[in-house]
Amino acid sequence: MSEELKFTYNVDGEDFNSAGQASVSVKKNLRQLGIDPEIIRKVSIAMYEGEINMVIHAHGGTADVFVDDEKIGIVLSDKGPGIADISKAMQEGYSTATDTVRALGFGAGMGLPNMKRYTDYMNIESQIGEGTTITMHVKYQ
């Protein structure tokens, strides 16, 4: 493919019932494009974790997914509270999720580490009180 494809999704921050919808849609779209299942698996996991983070912590946001000749790019943007200590947030097991959220099976402190693990590039930009933008790449090779 010569032109970059882009999909944009709104992630509803008030609705746990629809959490994961964007990830499921991305998976379907990538499959239709004939992308390697292993790449789709990585993108799905990273995107789902990011989507859940936006619902849990940031009252939702937007997810943009780019497809080009070399990689899948994912940009997750929210206007949430920001991440106070990114290096702590990257530690497995560290979580600031509430008990209510934990009761739903989230808050294991694996979200950001999973996103890092399943992508080839990950960058977090976060400003307290302004929001967070996470950029991730999954390369075909």
Partner: protein
């Protein structure tokens, strides 16, 4: 073994069966969704006590062959409807996860 063949076993009750012919590749047990996202392999049965809507997204993304709700956990009716719409197989077991797993092990998993 397919989900259909599995559902004929007495220790399991079918809750939502959408794709009975799907082949089962193994079993995974877990309740923390990020762990499950990380570890569950395509085609595996997923044994959990979680019954909220988010398990459907995880099962769908990871392509679990079926969710088995252990400990007699009930799936609320609205979530059953969503499972049908998403094509996700759900069965239940009155036994705890470990005993359920032992039964699954005896079936060859």
């Amino acid at each position: 073994m397919t989900v259909n063949e599995l559902s004929n076993n007495d220790f399991l009750t079918p809750v939502v069966i959408c794709d009975a012919g799907v082949e089962i590749s193994g079993v995974y047990i877990g309740d923390l969704l990020s762990w499950v996202m990380n570890t569950l392999q395509e085609g595996q049965l997923w044994v959990t006590i979680m019954s909220n809507i988010n398990i459907l997204a995880v099962a769908s993304l990871k392509e679990a062959s079926a969710i088995i709700l252990a400990e007699g956990v009930k799936l609320p009716e609205d979530i059953q409807e969503t499972a049908k719409a998403k094509g996700i197989n759900v069965l239940s077991s009155t036994m705890p996860a470990y005993e359920t797993a032992k039964k699954l092990s005896m079936l060859g998993f």
